[in-house]
Amino acid sequence: MDDQWKIDIDAIAKYSANLPEVEMVKNLGIKPRLNVETLIETINSRKLERLVIAGDMPGYYKPVFTKAMAKTGGNVDEVRLASFQEHGAKNGQSLDRAKAIIACATMAVPFSLAAVPGGNPVNHSTLVIGAGIAGIQASLEIANAGKQVYLIEQSGTIGGHMAMFDKTFPTLDCAACILTPKMVDVGQHEMINLMTRAKVVSVGGKPGAYKVKIRQKARRVDVKSCVACGLCVDACPVKVKSEFDAGISIRKAIYIPFPQAVPNTYLIDEEHCRYVLNDGEKCGVCVRKCPKDCIHLDEEDATVDVEVGNVILATGYELLDISKIDQYGYGKFPNVVTSLEFERLTNASGSTGGRIVTKIKQYNRKTKQDEWVFSPEGVPPRSVAIIHCVGSRNKKYNAYCSRVCCMYSLKFAHLIKEKIPNVNVYEFYIDMRAFGKGYEEFAERIREEGTYIIRGHSASVVMNKNQMVVRGEDIFNDRLVEFDVDMVVLAVGLVPSQGTEELSRLLGVQRDVDGWFSELDYNGSPTDTDKGGIYVAGMCQAPKDIPDTVAQASAVAAGVLRSLTSGQGIGSMSSLTLSEIEEKAKTVHAI
C-alpha cells in the first residue's frame, strides 16, 4: 500500500472479480478504517463464505475480519490473507505474481505449495558464496556427503566475522577453538574447491544447471611455494589499517589476514601496493627480499567458469555505517569504539594481546600528527559504558532489531569485568532480548557480577574537561544519570553486506525491505528462496546468532543433498507463469 511499490490495484481487482467463486471485490484504499458492523452486513447480504484480504500487510487488518466472520457464524478459518510483499510481489513488474497470490488465496491453497515446480535435472556440484561460519558449515556438510563444492570468498581468508570474535555467548567458549578446525577442514577437503578473493560476475543457466562466471583476483603470491617466513612484510613500506582487526591495527600491503588464516599464505593488497599502483615502476622490494621467489607482482586476475546445480548464499553482514550517527561522538572522541573494534581489542590475538586498554596518543611521522591508537602500553579504563541499539530499532537507520547486540554486549560486560579489577560497567539498554537457550540465565549472571544494567537508552556522549560523560535515563530507578566513563562501546546495528544488492540482481533473488535476502516462506521453508536451487544461510537472510546460523547452514545442506538424491530435480518458482500457477492451484484445490 506504499507508494514505492506501485502494483496496479485496479488491474488486480478486475482480475480477482473474474476468478471462480469470487462474489465481490472491494478496494479498501490505503489505511482503511474498518467497521465490524458494516462488514457483518456485507457478509450477510452477499452470503460470503470466504474473505480474502489482499495487500502488502493484510495481516494487520485480519482481526477485524475474523471478528466479523465470527459474529455472522461463519468459519473464521476462511478469512485468508493474500500477502503481496511476503510472497515476492513487490513492484509494478510483479503484477502477475500478485494475481497468482490472490488466485491461490481465493482457492485456499498456500501460495508456496501451488508454486513449487520441479523438473530440471541437477548438476551435482554446489556453489557456496561466502566463507563465513555459514558457508563453511554448509560446505563441510555437503562435501562430507561426497559432493563437490565450490566455496568462494571475497576476502583473502575464510572464517568471516566469527574468526574475529574472542568468545561466543552464552557459553563463553573460545570462538577460534570452534571455528579454526572447521577452517582447516575446508582448506584440506578434497571435495571443496576453495577460491578466495573471488566474486561472482555473472550467472546464467537455469535451476539445476547454473553457469556461473567467477572472477578471482590475483593473490600475487604463490600459495604452494610460500612458507610464510615474513621477510616480505618487514620490507613492505606501505601501511594500511587492518580489515581483520576492524581498523584498530596496522598491516602492510603484503600481508596475511591473521595467523590462522586459510589459505595460510601471504597476499598482495593491490589497492595499496605501491608497485601495482604505479604499474611496476616503483618499489617491488618484497620480490627482492623473498628467498623462495614466490611473489609475482604482475600476476593477472583470473576468470573461472563453473557449472553448478545449487547455489548457497552465505554473504553475511557488516556494521551499519556509524559515521551517520554522530550523537555518540564516534570519530570525535578517541575512546568511543564499535562492537567489532572492541571484539578485536579484547581478542587475545589482537594488537594489545587481549588487554582491554584505552587509546594512547602516538606521533605519526608520516602525517606529522598525533594519532590515537590502541597499544599494549595503554591504561585500562576505570569505567566503560556499553550502549545498545545504536542504529537498530531506529526508524532513521534500521527499523529492525539486530538480534545479537544485547547478548554480545552482556558478553563484553563479562569480559571487561573478568580482565580489569574494580571496573564499572554500565549497560544502557531499551529492551533486553535474551531469547535463546541459556541466554536469560547468562543475562542474570552478568547482572549478578555487578554490571550496572540500566533500563533506558543513552542519547549522548559528551566530553567534559577531558572526561567522557554518558547521559541517560535510568527508567526503573526514575532518575536521570550521568556517568564519567573512559570508554564507550557502541552496539552498532547490522546491515546486509555490501555486495548483497548486486548478487540479488545477478541471481534474481528477492530481497526484503531491509535489504536481506528473502526466504521463500518464513515459517515453512526458511532456507529456500523463490529461485529454485538457490538457498540462503546465515546472516544474509536476517540477523541471527552463531547457533542459528550453523543450524540454518546445515538445513541448507540438507536441502541441497535432497535435490541431488531425490531424483525429482528442481525448478524455480518465479519461472512459472501465472496460468501455470493457476492450473496448479486448481488441481491442489480440487484435492
Binding site: 550523537q327 532513521k396 537508552h457 541517560g472 532518575r479 536521570l480 544519570v481
Partner: protein, 385 residues
C-alpha cells in the same frame, strides 16, 4: 491513592495534535537530550508513558508540559518517530482546556469550525455594535475630539470591559491550575512562605523567558533566534495591551504624534510585526521540527494577531495623514478582530502567557519543598554496591 485509568485518553489527545504517542517504546533518549529535564521533572518520556497508560488524572496535575519550550530536539532524534515534542505541545493544549472551567477551550481545540465560527460571530456583533454606536453619536468624517465616530473615552471603557471579562476568566483558570498542580499534584506539605520566597521567579520568567534561551538545537547551539523573536512578540504584546487598556486616550489623540506614548507603541509594533511574520513564515515553511505540525488554533493565533497589527498600523497611518473616514473604517475592522482575540485569550494558546511563568514559579516551589523533605536524588553520586 488509586488512580483511575482512561484507556481512550490517547485517542482524545489525538484531537489536540498528538498522533504518534503509541509508537513510543520508552528508550528515554528524549529525556536525556532535553536540556530542561532534571531530577524531578523527567520529561518527555515520563509524560509519554503516562499518556500511553491513560493516567489522565495524573497528567492533569503535572507541570512538565509547561516546562517544555518545544525546541524539537527530542522529536528529531526519536528512534520511533513518536514525536514527543508534539505530544508535549498537545498536552499543553489539553491542559489549557482542562484548566478552563467553561469547556469553551475544549470546544475550540477539538473543532476548528466552532472556533472560526465563534470568532466570526463575535467580530460581526462587535462590528454592528460599533457601527451603530458610531453613526448614532458621531460623524464618520471625524476621528478624534468632539463628535468623533468612536470617541476614545468610549473606547477606553469598552476596552476595560472586555479586558476585565478576559481577566476574570484567566484568573479563575489560573486558580484552577494552582489547585490542580499544587494541591492535587503535590503529596508533601508545601509551607506558605515558600510561595513568598520563590515569588521572584514569576516576573523573572515572565519578562526574560530565560528557559527558552536555554533550549538547544543539535545539542550545541542555543536557540537564540526563536527565543529573541518570541520575547519581542510577548513584550510587544504586553506593552500594547497596557497602552490600549490604560493609555488609549493619549494614544488616539491626534493628529500630531505624542512621542511619550507613541514611542512605546512603535516599539511594540516592531516586536509584534516581526514576531507574527517570523512565526507565520516558519509555520508555512515547516523548517524546524516545532513548526512541522500546526494545529488549527496555532493558525488562528498568529494570523489573527498579524491581522490586528496590520489594521492597527493602517488606522494609525490614515489618522495621521488626514484620511479620517478610512481611519474610522479600519478602526472598526481592527476592533472587530481585537474583541474576539481578547475574549478568546483565556480559552486558547494565548493563555500560556500566564500559565508558563506560573508553572515555573510552581515548579520552583515544588522543588524547594522537595529539597526541604530531602527527597531530591543527586543523580551523579550513584555508586555500585
Amino acid at each position: 491513592m488509586a488512580i483511575r485509568v482512561n484507556p481512550s485518553f490517547i485517542d482524545d489527545l489525538s484531537r489536540y495534535g498528538a498522533e504518534d504517542v503509541q509508537l513510543c517504546y520508552q528508550c528515554g533518549d528524549c529525556s536525556t537530550i532535553c536540556s530542561h529535564a532534571d531530577d524531578i521533572y523527567k520529561f518527555p518520556r515520563k509524560s509519554m508513558r503516562q499518556l500511553q497508560m491513560g493516567l489522565e488524572q495524573r497528567i492533569e496535575t503535572t507541570l512538565e508540559p509547561w516546562l517544555c519550550y518545544y525546541c524539537g530536539q527530542c522529536s528529531e532524534q526519536c528512534p520511533r518517530e513518536a514525536d514527543p515534542g508534539e505530544s508535549m505541545m498537545s498536552l499543553r493544549r489539553w491542559l489549557i482546556s482542562k484548566y478552563d472551567f467553561t469547556g469553551i477551550a475544549r470546544q475550540f481545540f477539538k473543532s476548528k469550525t466552532s472556533e472560526i465560527l465563534a470568532v466570526i460571530l463575535i467580530a460581526l456583533v462587535t462590528g454592528i455594535f460599533l457601527m451603530f454606536y458610531g453613526i448614532s453619536g458621531g460623524s464618520i468624517h471625524i476621528y478624534d475630539g468632539e463628535g468623533a465616530f468612536l470617541p476614545s473615552q468610549f473606547i477606553h471603557k469598552f476596552d476595560l470591559t472586555i479586558g476585565s471579562i478576559m481577566a476574570i476568566f484567566l484568573l479563575i483558570n489560573s486558580i484552577r491550575m494552582w489547585y490542580f498542580t499544587m494541591i492535587k499534584g503535590v503529596l508533601i506539605p508545601v509551607p506558605w512562605w515558600l510561595y513568598l520566597k520563590e515569588l521572584y521567579e514569576l516576573p523573572l520568567h515572565f519578562f526574560t523567558q530565560k528557559r527558552y534561551a536555554e533550549c538547544e538545537s543539535n545539542g550545541k547551539q542555543h536557540l537564540h533566534m526563536p527565543w529573541l523573536i518570541h520575547l519581542g512578540l510577548m513584550l510587544g504584546y504586553v506593552t500594547m495591551l497596557l497602552l490600549v487598556l490604560v493609555f488609549v486616550e493619549p494614544l488616539q489623540a491626534g493628529p500630531e504624534i505624542r512621542w511619550s506614548v507613541h514611542i512605546f507603541a512603535y516599539m511594540a509594533t516592531i516586536g509584534l510585526l516581526s514576531g507574527t511574520i517570523y512565526f507565520i513564515r516558519n509555520r508555512f515553511k515547516k523548517n524546524y521540527t516545532q513548526y512541522k505540525k500546526s494545529h488549527s488554533t496555532d493558525w488562528v493565533f498568529v494570523v489573527l494577531l498579524f491581522f490586528i497589527v496590520l489594521t492597527g498600523i493602517f488606522q494609525h497611518v490614515f489618522h495621521r495623514t488626514g484620511l479620517y473616514e478610512w481611519a474610522n473604517i479600519t478602526y472598526v475592522i481592527h476592533l472587530m478582530a481585537v474583541v474576539p482575540w481578547l475574549l478568546r485569550m483565556p480559552f486558547s494558546k494565548w493563555a500560556h502567557l500566564a500559565y508558563r511563568p506560573l508553572a515555573m514559579y510552581f515548579a520552583a516551589i515544588q522543588k524547594a519543598a522537595y529539597e526541604r523533605q530531602e527527597l531530591l536524588v543527586d543523580s551523579v553520586s550513584i555508586t555500585i554496591k
